[in-house]
């Protein structure tokens, strides 16, 4: 049985009429809501599963448990050990990947139409009935610890971890979800089993699929895939308090190029000003070659290969961050330019021409993201997690176009706070 709650046809007005994607809202017989785009021209399906929570669900003292647990899902299930499982996936030419993030865990899959049932049965065994045998725990733990040690010597990772630590105190956001050598070293099998029960529950699952499958088939597939998972998982932690003030923190590290992470508190995804902030960020430093920061720091002065800024609206707190890297004898110059551009944008906002350019860029680039079954499935599941309506993709460009110069100027004053801007610099800068 299938319930169609809604179907939205996304139509990109800026482009020819073929640019339409019909998103179906399918509620499975067991009541799980999934979004589907049917695309029958290529015989495979891309499937995305997300469970809200992620690394923030680590129990106190068990930092890294969720991440290690996710690394173990492909390491054996039922009668199969890690190699048996990989062999079975190879025989089906199915790809599964399992990842942990701060706010979510993700399971991505693609499988062929010709052996879809077998692929899904195999995926289910890994998700619902992982073995977590000690020998696998020990092996994957050592891989994770090897990664932690590498991060500890990587200037980019040192910079972002230092910033997070200063910004979020004792909240899980303050530390890496990989955990530390000590915390991961102390994890037991019970901790892993608990992390699995905490994270993979039906009260927090989001599903999307794109490809050669009908709504009926998908409903049955998703129910079969999730059967056996607990109804509820661990409670979500409290909101994170941002506690960093303006200034600079220097981490001495012997390397020729200093790496800086800079920023302050950001803006929530559901804030009414989010769209204006998003447009503002494109103008200031959002990754295109002609952002203000790229123009001032790279194009005019040659101080860096790249400077970028990002709005990071996490579930339990938000950041507005940027990154830059310059030789030790030039980083202080780069920092000065960024500080002054940050203040200039806060005070004056962008020009009408900059706003218009950012809008054409954003509205034109949006449909280009919908390029392939995997990317579309990813976008759909992200929309669901952000609690966006099913017609969001169709109205998103209108929302961008509705942002006025006054909006952006007002929001620039509101969210850019030069006095709070904090730089964490890793390297041996010469002042």
């Amino acid at each position: 049985m299938k319930h169609f709650v809604a179907a939205a046809i996304v139509f990109f007005a800026a482009l020819p009429a073929r640019a339409e994607i019909a998103i179906q809202d399918v509620v499975t017989p067991n009541g799980t809501r999934t979004w589907l785009v049917e695309e029958h021209s290529i015989p495979f399906v891309a499937l995305e599963l997300r469970f809200k929570g992620g690394g923030t669900l680590d129990a106190p003292g068990k930092r890294g448990a969720t991440n290690l647990m996710m690394g173990l899902l492909e390491e054996g299930t039922g009668e199969m050990n890690a190699m048996d499982f990989a062999r079975a996936a190879e025989e089906l030419a199915a790809d599964f990947s399992y990842d942990a993030y701060d706010d979510a865990i993700s399971i991505s899959a693609r499988f062929l139409t010709e052996n879809r049932d077998q692929a899904v049965a195999l995926l289910r065994k890994s998700v619902v009935e992982p073995r977590f045998d000690q020998v696998s725990i020990d092996r994957v733990r050592e891989q994770v610890i090897s990664g932690i040690r590498s991060d500890d010597k990587n200037p980019d990772r040192i910079a972002s971890q230092t910033f997070d630590g200063l910004a979020f105190g004792d909240h899980p956001y303050a530390t890496s979800l990989n955990g530390t050598e000590e915390s991961v070293g102390a994890l037991t099998r019970d901790d892993i089993v608990e992390a699995h029960q905490n994270a993979l529950a039906l009260d927090r699952v989001y599903v999307s699929a794109v490809g050669d499958i009908t709504a009926d088939e998908l409903g049955r597939l998703v129910d079969e895939l999730l059967a056996g998972l607990p109804e509820t998982g661990a409670p979500f932690p409290a909101q994170a308090q941002y506690r960093l003030e303006g200034g600079q923190t220097l981490v001495d590290f012997a390397t020729p190029q200093s790496v800086a992470i800079f920023g302050h508190e950001g803006i929530e995804r559901d804030d009414p000003d989010f769209f204006a902030a998003y447009v503002l960020n494109v103008i200031l430093g959002g990754g295109s070659f002609d952002s203000r920061l790229m123009t001032e720091v790279r194009e005019k002065r040659g101080l860096t290969y790249g400077v970028n800024t990002f709005l990071i609206p996490k579930d339990l707190g938000s950041l507005y961050l940027g990154s830059v890297a310059s030789a030790n004898d030039r980083i202080s110059q780069a920092v000065e330019v960024i500080e002054s551009e940050w203040a200039r944008m806060a005070n004056e906002g962008p020009t009408q021409a900059e706003l218009d350019k950012a809008k054409t860029f954003l509205t034109g680039a949006y449909p280009l993201r919908f390029d392939g079954n995997g990317p579309i499935a990813n976008i759909l599941v992200g929309m669901q997690m952000d609690d966006l309506p099913i017609d969001y993709a169709a109205t998103r460009n209108d929302k961008v176009n509705a942002v006025t110069l006054d909006d952006v100027k007002r929001v620039a004053k509101r969210i850019l706070r030069p006095e709070d801007l904090h730089f964490v610099i890793v390297g041996q800068p010469k002042i």
């Binding site: 073929r18 695309e39 021209s41 190699m83 295109s288 040659g302 860096t304 290969y305």
Partner: protein, 447 residues
């Protein structure tokens, strides 16, 4: 002469096709510029790319990094565009653009709505021959590429190690020189260096146009003739003959120490043949050897060293046959806690020795071939990457037919051929063994 190829699936072993079912058309313009069109009409998007058959290995001695430096400079002014305007126009049309340089090619691309293709061709054909550089451009952009080198290489012990290993691998070929350039030579690059390279290599008869996405060959042809077809060929384009390697006759060993090393490891590389036009069998065997030996939990090395003896945290093998000249077959082992680099290297050597005696597990090879066939289906979801595959191949000495025959050649490789290829490539006299290490405590004091 234009050929239309719509390839029907050939069936074997299972219902999956061996050959790609891509819609690929190719033709050559009057001035010698080759054009490849990959059709995918599912979304109104197009990838427009121009690939030059010129990379860092085509540089003259003493100006390492100039190919990549020029790639940056192509975003500066032309007769009709101001500095930076190229990317601004692409952005203003909702597109993304960038470029990349490798040993054997330099490529420029824009991803845009398909109705903007003409504008992209107009601008890309303009900068093929019309850049106008100033001294100021040179000085600022040289600082940018030096910061790029800082970011990619100087700040990473692993990247510095890789650079040294390539230098040790190639005695005479430019593959031993980093694409981004040696720092001391980059610091001296000037306007004339950039222009010499530009004038020598940037010409339609040295370029390949790849257009992938929602386009039809006829419209691409008409536009290509209008914008690229009018640029005269460079009659002085040199033949692509680069200094080749002499026979490798002695094993080379190196140690690289850096206090920023978190995880020590061992690498081994062996000079290996690349895919040659009309002669890809050896490369196909090496491609499958890399899969059998070191890709995934069921590969020979992972089974023996990660799951079996538990001496490795990670072990892998790599081979990429797309290269104009001789390439390498690479091995890496990251030892488990308490296992020395010497023990890890010996264990890897013993595991390969054993593999050469045991042979290839036919079931394993069958699974790998099944995955390669499935890859033909998954690839149809990504026209861009199909376009990329053609661009890399055609700038690396292969032709369209070679690219299209490749999947069948892979499927035809036998267990015995893999072992024979392994015995040829794992010649100790042609090896470079590298250890990446932390400094001993004594050395650390002097850092």
């Amino acid at each position: 002469m234009r050929r239309m190829m719509m390839l029907a699936g050939l069936f074997a072993l299972s219902a999956l096709p061996i050959r790609a079912q891509e819609m690929v058309t190719d033709f050559v313009l009057g001035n010698g510029m080759q054009v490849v069109v990959v059709e995918d009409h599912r979304a109104p998007v197009v990838m427009h790319m121009v690939w030059y058959k010129a990379g860092s290995a085509d540089e003259q001695p003493g100006v390492s990094g100039v190919a990549h430096f020029l790639e940056h400079l192509l975003f500066k002014a032309t007769d009709t565009l101001e500095s930076g305007e190229f990317s601004e126009v692409v952005s203003a049309n909702g597109g993304r653009d960038n470029a990349f340089t490798s040993y054997d090619y330099t490529a420029y691309y824009q991803r845009v709505a398909s109705d903007r293709l003409e504008l992209m061709m107009k601008m890309e054909s303009d900068r093929m021959v019309n850049i106008r550089l100033t001294e100021d451009d040179i000085l600022t952009e040289r600082d940018v590429i030096i910061e790029e080198r800082n970011q990619r290489t100087e700040n990473s012990a692993g990247a510095l190690f890789r650079e040294q290993r390539s230098a040790a691998q190639y005695l005479n070929h430019r593959y031993g020189v980093p694409i981004i350039g040696w720092r001391h030579e980059m610091e001296q690059l000037d306007l004339q260096d950039a222009l010499s390279y530009y004038e020598q290599y940037y010409a339609p008869n040295n370029a390949i146009l790849v257009v992938a996405g929602d386009v039809y060959p006829d419209e691409v042809k008409a536009l290509a003739e209008q914008y690229y077809g009018v640029i005269p060929a460079n009659p002085d384009l040199p033949e692509r003959l680069r200094p080749q390697e002499p026979p490798h006759t002695s094993a080379r060993r190196m140690e690289f120490r850096d206090p920023r090393v978190a995880q020590e490891y061992v690498t081994q590389s062996f000079l290996a043949p690349e895919r040659d036009s009309g002669d890809q069998k050896e490369a196909a065997a090496l491609t499958l050897l890399a899969q059998v030996l070191g890709s995934g939990p069921n590969s020979v090395l992972a089974r023996k060293l990660q799951f079996g003896s538990k001496q490795a945290v990670y072990v892998s093998s790599f081979y990429n046959g797309v290269s104009l000249d001789d390439t390498t077959f690479d091995l890496i082992i990251v030892p488990a806690n308490g296992v020395s680099l010497r023990e890890a290297e010996d264990a890897m050597g013993a595991a390969i020795e054993q593999f050469l005696q045991d042979g290839v597990d036919p079931e394993h090879l069958k699974r790998i071939k099944m995955q390669l066939r499935a890859e033909q289906i998954y690839a149809r979801d990504a026209a861009d990457s199909v376009g990329n595959r053609y661009g890399r191949a055609l700038t690396s000495g292969l032709n369209i037919q070679d690219v299209q025959e490749w999947p069948e050649i892979l499927q035809a490789v036998t267990e015995a051929e893999i072992i024979e290829a392994a015995k040829r490539v794992f010649n100790p006299d042609r090896s470079v063994t590298g250890w990446l290490l932390r400094p001993t405590s004594n050395q650390e004091v002097t850092q």
